[in-house]
Amino acid sequence: MQEFKWPYPLDYGKEEKITADVLILGGGIAGCMAAISAARKGQKVVVVEKGATKMSGAGGSGCDHWESAATNPCSKVTPEELTQAMLDDNDGYNNGISHYIECREGYDRLLDIEKMGGKIRDTEDEFVGAAFRDEATKLMFAYDYENKITLRVWGTTFKPAMYREMKKLGIRIVDRVMVTSLLTQSGNQGNRCIGATGLHTRTGKFYIFSSKSTIMCLSRPARIWMFSSDHTGLCEFRPTQCIGDGHAMGWRIGAEFTMMEKSVRTEFSAAGRSYPPYGAGNNHNSWYGASIIDSTGKEIPYADRDGKILKSVEERFLPAKGQKFFMKGGSVDDPKHAIEGPETLPFGDMLKKGYKLPFYADLTTLPDTERRAIWGMMIGEEGKTRVPVYENYKKAGFDPTKHVLQCYGTGWTSASFLPQERQLFGLPGGFLNDWELKTNIEGLYAAGDCLYASNCYGHAASTGYYAGRHASAYALKEGIIEPDKNQTEAEKKRIYAPLQNNPETSIGWKELNMGISKTMQNYCGDAKSDDLLNTGLKILKNYEKDVVPATFAYNPHELMRLLEVFDILTVSQMIIYASLARKSSSKVLCFNRIDNEQEETENDRRLITLRLAENKVVYDEKPLDFFGDLKDNYEKFNQDYMGGKQNV
């Protein structure tokens, strides 16, 4: 065996205790904005992050769109209209509260980030005169140039700017620590959340955090169905380390979840058939408005929602006749007529008409400003494209005025996946929240990707900041409670157990992850029935009983990966429990029951919620519009923020 010396001290079992008024779990966009918000309220804030806060998280390395900025000075759509459109587009299965916060406060956060040093407008006048640029404010827009609700931004500057602001505000950042569990008063399920535990991913040290209030800002689950041991980091759209730890630890203490039965056929997995996001030819998201041509150079026409062929490039960015506005972007997969924007004619129809494969994205014929915005700015600023796509393609000779880039699929995807290959994508399930972004657990708030039906950068930033305000108000009236010794000791025992096993006879995290993924594909794929789901649940429970105790990790890094897979195992069971509770099929939830193919009736159209109480699964339901009138409720709960105090 080839050996090397682990470069960090090994502190397995050693303890460090840290207290905070407001504890933030996760240092991504939501976590950083939550921390800034709470610190501005005078709270002592601690952020715990698995990676390195300066650039970690799904938006850490960049972002090119800021969606739903309905209150920007150029917008012609109100927050109420925009949120209602998002609700209607999903037949009500959407988070009215969090998206209203996004629409109402998103632009405030952009201005905030600008003050911190982020670039949100064309200050260098590189795009003067472009159709998407507002000359007075120098703001640049995407998609619908008439209504101006989505901004083009220089997102690589955002996270470092937030990080500097956090340092300035005296926020304590604890990097390289994986949050492993939430602590509750007296250690009981369902009680007030009083802190969390963590594992240092380099030294193995154990952390005990005590707090007055806690904000869950960890990401959404991943690698449930899609796994590749060779290319783990390419399995999903979001970062390797974002696999839904927060859902699993929330579940264990009795937090309530909803829409967990929703999963979609995989849209993106570059470990499988996909190409790197926005790195292959397409005309969506960063590439919206690009022309698509066939292999003889013939252009595929764009049409508006009513089938009218659009003759000019300019029309690709305008609503149809009689349409108020259209929507595109991360949360819009299969738009309804009301908000459906221009789109190239279906590729399948084009093939029947004699168009020849392969198809290519063609920027050569676009106006110069559009081409520079897509290839220079957007691909230069989006999270995973600046270096591996923009810089590398340039170095390899790609010239957008000359070359065309091949398409490998339709829509924003670059591949077609099998029905059982699934992901939590397109507004998936998560923590259920109230108007304070509080969960059902006293003292525990949630923001960003862990919320049900969440998506995108602006949503993360605005819900993070909002949760920071409300969690601060809670912290002001509550004290610190000493963690229950039995609870912290039990957690220590759980997380270090694999280190005691024999590497020769135990299995590693990759084998367990693959086993779970295959089980989920087999028993909780597209075709769902009680018999299949119950069989899958039995297999997962056996993994928990027989396999989890027989795993091994060589070092703290591998131990982190293994604990992540334990969380994937927990989340997989949550998904099966939620699926068992939904008895009819639902198109909008991409939920297909082969033992009841009848589409849901009005009676079934409810949010199904689930949580643990005394370690038993408890189901409940809520009407889809449980949050009431958006504007009235928002204003009722946010008097302190309104009236020009947006940066307080």
Binding site: F4, G60, G233, Q241, T364, P388, H557
Partner: protein, 94 residues
């Protein structure tokens, strides 16, 4: 060709997302400290390149390249299977 029969107990990885040019790398470990996945470890020798210990975990965000103070010291490269094809438009029109 070498006839040395001593072999390391390892195999070639499925892909090599990160290649470090030892001639340009100063061993500052900026990449080690920024990587959100934590796939590097500092090299055993001070001032020498870090080790890419877990290449399969790379998310290809490019932060390591963005913070590297030495131009060209790190190359981030998508695996062969993910390298998209492009062509000069004039070729299609011929």
């Amino acid at each position: 060709m070498s006839e040395n029969q001593n072999m390391p107990y390892t195999e070639m990885p499925a892909s090599k997302p990160i290649v470090i040019d030892a001639g340009k790398c100063t061993g500052c470990n900026s990449c080690v400290e920024i990587c959100m996945v934590d796939l590097f470890i500092p090299g055993p020798e001070r001032g020498k390149p870090p080790v890419v210990l877990y290449p399969g975990e790379c998310w290809y965000c490019g932060c390591c390249v963005m913070v590297c103070p030495e131009e060209g010291a790190i190359t981030l490269r998508h695996p062969l299977m993910n390298q998209a094809h492009w062509v000069e438009k004039a070729e299609l029109l011929k």
